[in-house]
Subunit: 345 residues, 2 copies
Amino acid sequence: MGVTLKQLAASLGLSPTTVSRALNGFPEVSAATRKRVKEAAIRANYHPNTRAKSLATGRAQAIAHVIPVSTSHEIVNPVFADFIAGAGEVYSHSGFEMVLRIVDDADESQAYRDLVARGTVDGVMVHGPRTHDSRVELLSKLGVPFLVHGRTSSVNAPYSWIDINNQRSFHRATQFLCDFGHRRIALVNGMSDMDFAVRRRNGYLQALEAAGIPPDPVLMRHAEMTEPYGYRTAQELIQLPDPPTAYLASSMIVAYGLRRGLSDLGVTPGRDISIITHDDELSYLPNDGDVPMFTATRSSVREAGKRAAQMLLKLVASPESGPLTELMETSLVLGASTGPAPVRS
Amino acid sequence: MGVTLKQLAASLGLSPTTVSRALNGFPEVSAATRKRVKEAAIRANYHPNTRAKSLATGRAQAIAHVIPVSTSHEIVNPVFADFIAGAGEVYSHSGFEMVLRIVDDADESQAYRDLVARGTVDGVMVHGPRTHDSRVELLSKLGVPFLVHGRTSSVNAPYSWIDINNQRSFHRATQFLCDFGHRRIALVNGMSDMDFAVRRRNGYLQALEAAGIPPDPVLMRHAEMTEPYGYRTAQELIQLPDPPTAYLASSMIVAYGLRRGLSDLGVTPGRDISIITHDDELSYLPNDGDVPMFTATRSSVREAGKRAAQMLLKLVASPESGPLTELMETSLVLGASTGPAPVRS
DNA sequence: GCGCGTATCCAAAGCGGTTTGGAATATCCG
DNA sequence: CGGATATTCCAAACCGCTTTGGATACGCGC
């Protein structure tokens, strides 16, 4: 319930026009007056009303992040938290607000329409794109600036996105394992309709092919990335007649599960078996130190959030600056979880 | 970019007044007209502009969640994600927007002042209260409805909060371990300035005292709750001359770390040693099944988010409904990680 | 001293809704 | 049928800000 511009103006014996201009740095006001106004504004703890301002300017000064949560498995992907933390930092510095929508992926399209029609935000961040995702098309049609965290293969028309090089990462990781003599490599992936999962699988398959190893469907798993999923998968696979000697995990959480599943059976990663995981550098699951626990394809999702926010803000400021895209490479970090394939006895 | 009320009214040959009233359910409009208006609104995909509406009504229809992120350790507490998912669901159904502020805890108070002075939101959710926390006092002074997720011991005046019974939970857990014959029980807690950590420690200490066990400072640890913290702590403590036979962890993440630290040394939880953890029911770390992996004090943080949002909305609707408080009890769930204390040899 | 450009300020019209205070029409009753 | 009472609709003010299009005063050169 702060002071209004009108009140501030009255208390200074000036018009609202002049006060507004003084505060917003317009040239039509004398230096002396500007100083007087600015001081008074601080003294009165004046902050312009966001709604009035954006109604007048037509800019909402806000970005929406729409987080899909499927009612079926109710999983909140933990990478959202860190991504959003990164993005939020950027918004704060730019005077933008972040509005978050948790939305059932059934009525997702309605959420976007609504957001745009009501003029709540100037731009939209799209999370968790699937291989076939109608959102990109919808948002293009709606004509609102948007940026996708990830990509979707179903769309040919250009759009803005930021992504890590999933295919290359998993290609490298797989190749690394092959070079170590592994020939039975399991892929413990995320949900199969997620775009990142498909790209990672492609990288994996290509590397296998290059190494002359025929892929085995039994070794390729897809599911929501929980810790127990890793655990269960490790124990199932290890009991195969021809078990894998190496595992490729799509997230640290899954990798932890794998590790636990294996070590509960007396199998030690790095010695008996190899694990490589993708590491988003989540703050509470650091995989660092002199020798990180896991060999990993590493890329900070928090950093991605920062970049994404910067890109989207640029897009909002000048939509004509065209589709912006950024493909971030990951680094392959050597940790303690990999080693040469055990020699067949 | 949607249709405006004025345009819609013109297309119907009515005044904006009538259209507004028809859509908002006021009685001064005939049933026939209302029907005609509503249909036209749907056909034209009309959604009232949020900013204009809230400027006119004085209500922002939005709630702020302020997430403190200390620049020093940059940890994003993973419970935020699930809490927010729960709250967001409620807001969606009530037509409220959720605005998220990621804020360096240094300039936190400025964030609150700003949010209120600009009239961006109608209410504020306070996350991560510390034992001594000036935010409650600040927000009371600012006169904005707010609700704290957790409590702060430094404030005597009444305020609204929702919390789990941390003290009782850890009292019960400790007592349970004592009943099993454990006398060396480690507490692997969160940061010592967090209010929840203090309450848990109090519960722990009281139970020890009741059991006639003198507390040992060496067994009481405080730090940011990461997995490696659990790992490190487990390995440090196990090497003491008089090592603990049981561990009490403040989060699943820490418990995973403990487990890994112990099993790497060949110590098996549930047989050689006991672990009880608090379980927030994070979606990607489920601790369920016939026999959950960890014995735990369980309480869904997502459910807490829902309740919290409902309470805050009630507070916004009628501030005079006074401070609202809710203390949620946890359930002590028996899992595979506990057992009787090993007999001294 | 006059005309002109410039510096400084202001009145008023939006932005897109809601809401107050009528006005016009329909309904009712004696 | 006339006047009182509902019913139904509308014009205009307002929410708090920005911004266009002047108005006023000042300094300057001639």
